[in-house]
Symmetry: D2
Subunit: 465 residues, 4 copies
C-alpha cells in the first residue's frame, strides 16, 4: 500500500489503419466459419433433451440459441441483401426473434421451453441453410452492398459470441436444477493452486482526465467506417469521451471463495445492515444463503472448510477456497463490499485500469469439436500488479448501465440491440472464463439486472484513493 | 320418444369362475409384454424433444410416463419381492414417484419438465431393466409370493394403460402449444360420415333397483381372490351395491360439434345464466370461447361452417359437424346441458344403461410398432339404440367423485391409488378413442376436476324419466 | 353401544295450514323491523375502520354487508314494485350487487375493501331510506302485487340473517389479522363446564326409507304458495323426496378441542395418510398446524394443555378442552375422521337424526342494541341422546353440495341464489352459535368449499350401522 | 435559441453562520408545532374509512402516516433521550416501523391496510402523547443531549413533511379507485390560464465546473454541526462536490397536457420504438394508454380536446391542455422525450439551473385547519426564463439514484434513511404542488422507481448544448 499510485492512461494507442478490412472478404468468411462452428461444438456434447428445456424465464434452450443466432444473419443480412433468398420456414421469423420490435412480433420469451419443434436436428438444418447462403453472400455480394453487409456480419459474429457464453450459463442453470446433477462437459483436470490464494493487495491509481469508451468510427452499422472483427465495438461503448477520475484504489485480484466464506460466517446473509433494501427483500424471499451454485455437502463429517460443494459445468466439485467466488449477483457483491468496508468499482475505474493491458487471463473456453472442457474460474496467478482483469469472472461495478453522453443508437431495428435496456441494470467489466477470448476489450460493457445470479460474475473491491 | 322404456338390469351375469388365473403365469406374462410394448410404440414416433417438455402442471412429459410406469413395477413388485433386485439409480425412487406419500418424497409434479436427464435413451434402458427383472419374477416367484404378486401385476398393467391414454392427452397438449402445430401421428384416413349426424334421439329407462359397482373380490391387492387381467376392477368401483334409480332418459349418442356450434351461436360463452358460478369466473378469466382445441380458421372467406378447425394428434383438420364435440370440461358440459334445458347423466344411469352391453365402440388406438394412427372421435354410427357408450369420448356425469358406501382403500401405499382424490372431481364414464380397449368395463369410474379440458371428454344429455 | 337403534322418521308432521300468512302484513312488517334492526346492532359496537377493511377475498367489509342486504330489498322489491321509488345513488346498483349476473355488472368481490365510500354513515342513511320505502311498500301494496312481494320479503329476511352470521365470521377474520387482537364484543361470562366433556358416545339409527328436503310449496318466489317467515325453505332444500338410508351411527356430541389435540399430538398435521390429496397439498402450502384461530400461547412455561389459546370475537382466551373444536375446514374434518377410523356423516343422516327434534341448542347470538356478547361454541350439555345438533357449530358432512332430484332454480335473477354454486362445495348442517335461531330447520343446507376455515364449523363423526 | 447561453454557478453563496440555531429551542419548538399540526389538517377532512384502507402495496393508509411520523420521534428522540418515557403501546414499535431493520421487526408493508386498529381516534391520542413528550423534551433536555437531539428533531420534521406529500399522493390513489370518484378536498377555484400555454422555449447553459450537493456540515445526525430547519439537507445530498458539466439546454417550462396529447395521438402508447424495453413490457401488461389519472370522458359527443378528464384531489375535472402533464412515470417521460427527439435532464443540470434561484413556484398546499384546497399543477406563468423549476411537479431526470462520491450514511438506524434505496430508482428534482414549500432546496434529491405513477411527477426536456 505504500507503493506509489499508478497513472491512468491519458491517451490511448491510436488504432492501426484499417482500410484493408473491407477488401478482405476472405478473413471475414474465415471468422464467420470459425465462430459459427464453435457455437455448434458447444452444443454437440449435449443431449437433445438438454437443449430443449427452459428452467427459468431468463434461460433460453440451447437449441433456441442455435436458431436465434442464425435468424440474426437471416434477418439482417440475407433477407435484405441476398437475391432470391428463401427462408426455410416463415414461422421462424417470429419464433426466433428475441426482442426486435421493428422486425415484428416475438414468440414470448418465458415460453421458449414449450417448443419441442423445430427439433435439434431441424435447427441444425436451419443453421446449415443459413451458412450456405451466408457463404454465398460473402463471396458474391457487389461492392456497394458489401459495404453495408460487412459491419453487420461483424456485429452478427460478436452477437454469436455473446450467445456462446449464454449457451454455457443457460445450460449450467438447466443441469443444476436436476437432482442427478449431470455434467455438461469434462471437468478441467489441469492442476490448480490449492487453498492458498495470493494475499489480497491493493493498487492505487492517480486521478486525472482519461478517455473512456470506443471510437464511434468502429460502431456497428456505420458504412463509412473502416471495419474489422478485431476493431469492433458495440454502440453502447460509444462515443469515446473524456472524463475526470478522482484517485482510486482496486484490489489486485478477485474476492475468493475463502474470503466470501468469512463474510457468510459473520452473518452475511442474515444481517440486513449490509444490504440494499431491494436486495435484502429478495434475500429473504428467495432464501439466499450462499452463492447460487453452492450446495451443502451431504457427506457427514465433512471438514468445516468442506461444508459446501460447487456445481460446475463439469458437475459437482469441492469448493476451492483460493478460487474466486462466482455466481453472486449485484446485491450480494454490494453486501460483501459493505461488510468489508469498501465499495464496488466504477466502470470507468476498471476501464482505466485495464486500458493499456493485454487481453490476457483465464479464458476457459477451448473449443474443440467434441471435447469441451467445462469453463470455471481459477485462483489468481501469483504475480505482481493487477490480475484477473480479463477472464475468470465478469466484475460487478456500481455503475448503472446508462448511455454515454452523445450515445446514438443505430438506425432501424439494430438500434434495439443495446439502448432500450438502459434501465435498472448494472455494468460488468472484463469478461469471464466462459467468454470467447476474441470478444473482449477494455471498453466492453456487459450489463445485467442486480438480481442476476446465473452469469459468471464475481467481485473486485474498490475504494476512493 | 313414444317407445316403451327400457328396463335396467336388476341382476348381473355372474362372473365366470376364475380359479385358473393364478396358475396361468404365462397369460400374465403375455399381458405384461404386450401392454408394456404398446406403451413404447406410442412414444416411438415422437422426437426426444417432444418427450421432454411439460406445457402445464397437469401434463407430464412422455418420458416421465415411460419411467413412472416402470417405477410402479419396481416399487410394488421388484423391491418387495424380487431377490437381490438392484435399482439402477436410487434417485429414480423420488423422481418417478407420482404421489405415493408412503413410498417417500416426490419430485414436484409441476417441475417434471425441468428434467432433461435421464434422457429418453436412459429411460429406455430403465424400462428394459425392469422388463428383464419382471419377466424373471413372473417366471420364478414361489407360489406364496405369487399370490401377492399377481394382483399387483394386474394392477400395474391397468395402471400402465391409464398412462397410455395420458401419454396421448399430454403430448396433444404439448404439440398444440407449438405454433408449428406438428402432428404426433398419422391422420386417420378411413372414411368418415360427413356432416349429417343421426338425429338426436332419446331412450327411456325404467327405474328400479339395480346393482352398481364391482365385486370386491376382484379388487386390487386382495390375495385371496381369484384374479385375472380381464376381471380387474379398481378399489373405487367397490363394493358392488344395490341402489334405487328413478326413471330417466338419455340421448342415444354424444352431442356433436354442429350442435355445440348452435350453443355457441346463441351466446353460450357469453351468457352467465347457463353456467355454474365457478365455471363462469374461469370462462371469463381464461377467455374460453370454444372447446379447448378449436382454432379460428385463418383462411379468409372460409364458409360459416368452417370458421373453426380442430387440432388433433394428427395435426389440424377441418371441423366435422357430425363428430362429437370433445375436449370440453365439466363447466362447459354443464352449461351446454343448461342451455339445452336438460342435465348431465348421473354415473349410475350410465352404468345401468351400459351394464349388459358389449364393450364396443370407436377405440382409435391401434398400436403397431411404428405406425400409430392419431385417435380422434368419430360420428355416431347410424344404428338404433344407445351408441357411443364406450369409446369415442369419456362422458361427463353430474356425479361428484365420492366413495361408495363401504368403500375401503387398499392397505399400504397402494391405498393412495384412488381414495385420496375423492374431492372436487366429477366422474366420467365409458372410455374414449384413446383408451386401450381392454381397459374398460361398465363400472369403470374415471374422474377429473371440473375445469379439466385436455382429456378426451364429451357430452351426453339426460333428463328425469 | 348396546342400546337399540333409533328409528328414523318415515313420515313428517304435516305443516300447519298457512293461509293466514298472506293476510298478515303486520307480522311480516314486524319480522322486517326486528331482523333489520338486529343486523345494525351487530355493527354498532364496531369502529368505522373495522367495518371498512377486507382481509381476504372471501371476507366482505361489515359496511358492505349492511349495504348489500339493503340493496337486496331495493333490487327485488322496491325497484320492481314500489311506485316512484328513487334509488339514492345509481352507482349502488353495481357496488352492492354480490353475484346476480342478471341484475347487471358486479363490482369485483376481492376489491370490496378498496371502497372507503360510501362511509358507514352514508350506508346507515341508505338503510334508513330502504327501511322507509319498505315499510311503506308493505303497508300500501295492492293485494295482487303483495302476493308477489311477500315471498320475496321473507326471502330477503332470511338472506339478511345469513349475512348476520357472515358479519360475525368476517369481522372475526378482520380482527384476528390484527396483532393487537382486539375484541369485537364482550366476552361471554356465563360459567362454562370445565375441561371434562361428557364421554364420546354413539347413537345407532335404523335404516329405512325417509323423506329428505322441504316441500316445494314453501320455496322462494312461488306466488301461489301459502307463505310465512316460519315456514320458509330455500330452493336448494326442495323438493322433499324419499330416500333409502342404510343403518348408521353418529357421535352424540361434537368433537372437542381436547380430542382434536390428541389428533394433533399423534401427528395429525404431519401425516399425509389421513388427508385427502388436495387437502394435504394445501396443508403443506399454507402451513396449517392447528385450527384456524388457535395461537401458540406465548407465555413461557404454560402447562401442556395450555400451549394454545383461541382467538374469539371476545378476544383471545384460554383453550377449553371440553368445548367443541371449531374453525376447521372439510379437509381437517376429514383427516380427523380418518385418524379416528370413522367417517363424516352424510347430509341425509344428520337431517334424519334432527328431523323431529326441537330447534334447540347453544345459539350465542343475543342481540341487544349496544351489548352484543361474543358468540362462541360451548361444551356439550351432560344429557342423554343427541346433543348439539343445532347451534354451537355447523357440522361438515361428506355430501357434496348438489341439486336434489327435481330441483328447479327460481325463475329470473333470484334463481342465481343457490343453484349456480352446486360444484366443489360440501354441505354443512345444523347451524352455529352465530346463526340467528329462527333461521334454521332440519332441511337447511349450508355449503362451503372444502378449504374454508373462517366459518363456525366443527366435526361430528359417523360410521355405517 | 439564438440567445447567449447562461452561465452555471461556479461558486455558491456561503451559508450564513448558523451558530445561533442550537441555542434557539423556541424556534425549533415552533417549527415542531406548526409542522405537526399541518399534518393533522391534511387528515381532518377525510373520513375514518378513507384513512384506513390501502389500495396498493406502495400506498399507506393516512392513519398509518399519522402514526409512523409520531413513531419516528418516539423511536429516535423519546426512547433514547427522554427520561421515564412510557410508550403508550409496545406493539406500535413494530406496527409503525417502516423499514428500519436496526430498530427491529417491521409489520409487512403490503398489509398496512389490514389494520383497523388502532383507530383514527386512537392514533390521534398517540400523536397527542408524542407531542406532549416532545414539547417537554425540547424544553427540558440538558445541553449535551440537546446537541444530539436537535439535528434529529430537524430530520424528524423534514421526514414529517415528506409524509405530508405522501398522505396526499396516497389518498389520491385511494379515492381514485372508488367508482364514486369522491373529492378529498375542495377544488381550487382560483382562475387558471386557459388552453394557451406559453410557447415551449429552450434555454442554453454554458458548461463548466460547478458544485453539486450539500455541505456535509448540514447533514443529519452530525452533532458538531451548526444546525437549523432552514439549512437542513439529507445525507444523500452530501457531500457537496465539484463536477464538470458540458453545455446543455433545457425547456423553460414543463411539458403540457396538450403536448402530451400530441404524443398520444402519434401512437405514443402503441409504438415500442420510443420505449425502454422494461417500460414497454409494463405498458403492454398494465395496458397503459394515458397518464395515470386520466379517464375517458363518458359524455357522448365530447369535443376532441375533451376526450379525457382528470381525477384530482378535488374530484374529476376537465383536462386543461395548458397545465403540465402529471402522474407519468419514468418510462412514460423517457418515451415522450424519445418521441420528441430529446432526452430527460441529468440531475446535475437541473440542480445547476436552479442553484441560485429563489424557491418559488406553484406550491398548492395551503394548510388551514379545516379547509384544504386540493393541490394540482397549473399552467406555467407567462414570464421569461426558466419557470416551474420548483413546485407544480417533480421532474424526472435520467440520473439513476446513486451515492455521491464520498457519501457516508449516518451511523445507526438513521443510516437506513436513504442509502439502502440506491438501486433501480431515478432522481426527481424540484418539488411539486403537494410539497410543503419549506421542505425544498436545489440539492434536494427525490427518488422513485421508474414505474411509479402515483406521485406528482412531470416532464422537462433537455438536450446536449
Amino acid at each position: 500500500m505504500a507503493a506509489p499510485a499508478n497513472p491512468i492512461p491519458t491517451t490511448r494507442n491510436p488504432s492501426a489503419p484499417q482500410t484493408h478490412c473491407l477488401q478482405n472478404r476472405e478473413t471475414i468468411l474465415n471468422n464467420y466459419q470459425t465462430i459459427r462452428s464453435q457455437t455448434e461444438s458447444l452444443a454437440k456434447p449435449l443431449a437433445p433433451e438438454d437443449q430443449t428445456i427452459q428452467t427459468m424465464p431468463d434461460v433460453s434452450p440451447t437449441k433456441w440459441h442455435l436458431a436465434h443466432t442464425s435468424w440474426f444473419f437471416e434477418t439482417f443480412l440475407l433477407k435484405p441483401l441476398a437475391k432470391n433468398y428463401e427462408p426455410p420456414n416463415p414461422a421462424y421469423n417470429r419464433l426466433f426473434n428475441s426482442y426486435y420490435q421493428q422486425i415484428g412480433e416475438q414468440y414470448p420469451r418465458p415460453q421458449r421451453g414449450l417448443l419441442s419443434r423445430p427439433t435439434v436436428r431441424e435447427i441444425a438444418d436451419y443453421r446449415a441453410h443459413i451458412n450456405r447462403a451466408m457463404t454465398n453472400l460473402i463471396k458474391t455480394l457487389n461492392e456497394k452492398d458489401w459495404r453495408r453487409a460487412a459491419p453487420r456480419i461483424i456485429l452478427g459474429l460478436h452477437h454469436e459470441q455473446q450467445h456462446q457464453e449464454l449457451i454455457l450459463t443457460d445450460i449450467k442453470h438447466v443441469l443444476a436444477q436436476n437432482p442427478l446433477a449431470p455434467a455438461a462437459y469434462a471437468q478441467d483436470e489441469t492442476p490448480e493452486p490449492q487453498n492458498a490464494p495470493p494475499n489480497q493487495d491493493w493498487l492505487s491509481f492517480e486521478g486525472g482526465e482519461t478517455t473512456i469508451g470506443a471510437d464511434a468510427a468502429d460502431a456497428a452499422d456505420n458504412p463509412n467506417a473502416a471495419f474489422a472483427y478485431d476493431h469492433f465495438a458495440y454502440d453502447n461503448e460509444c462515443p469515446a469521451h473524456k472524463t475526470h477520475l478522482p484517485p482510486f484504489r482496486l484490489t489486485t485480484r478477485l474476492i475468493t471463495n475463502g474470503e466470501y466464506l468469512a463474510f457468510m460466517e459473520e452473518g452475511g446473509y442474515e444481517r440486513p445492515e449490509f444490504w440494499l433494501s431491494d436486495g435484502w427483500a429478495l434475500c429473504q424471499k428467495e432464501k439466499w444463503r450462499a452463492p447460487f451454485y453452492w450446495r451443502k455437502n451431504e457427506k457427514n463429517g465433512a471438514a468445516k472448510n468442506a461444508v459446501y460443494e460447487e456445481f460446475t459445468l463439469g458437475g459437482a466439485r469441492a469448493l476451492h477456497e483460493a478460487a474466486p467466488v462466482c455466481h453472486v449477483n449485484y446485491y450480494e457483491a454490494s453486501a460483501y463490499a459493505s461488510w468489508a468496508g469498501k465499495r464496488l468499482p466504477r466502470e470507468e475505474e476498471l476501464e482505466a485500469a485495464a486500458a493499456n493491458m493485454p487481453i490476457q487471463g483465464h479464458f476457459g473456453l477451448r473449443l474443440h469439436k467434441d471435447e469441451v472442457v467445462a469453463p470455471h474460474p481459477k485462483a489468481a496467478p501469483r504475480q505482481p500488479g493487477m490480475t484477473q482483469l480479463y477472464g475468470d469472472l465478469w466484475e460487478w461495478t456500481m455503475s448503472p448501465y446508462m448511455p454515454y453522453r452523445g450515445f446514438q443508437a443505430a438506425r432501424g431495428a439494430l438500434g434495439e440491440y443495446n439502448g432500450k435496456f438502459m434501465c435498472n441494470q448494472f455494468v460488468l467489466k472484463g469478461g469471464s472464463c466462459a467468454t470467447p477470448r476474441g470478444h473482449l476489450r477494455a471498453s466492453y460493457r456487459n450489463f445485467f439486472p442486480p438480481d442476476a445470479r446465473w452469469q459468471f460474475s464475481g467481485i473486485r473491491l474498490a475504494e476512493d484513493g
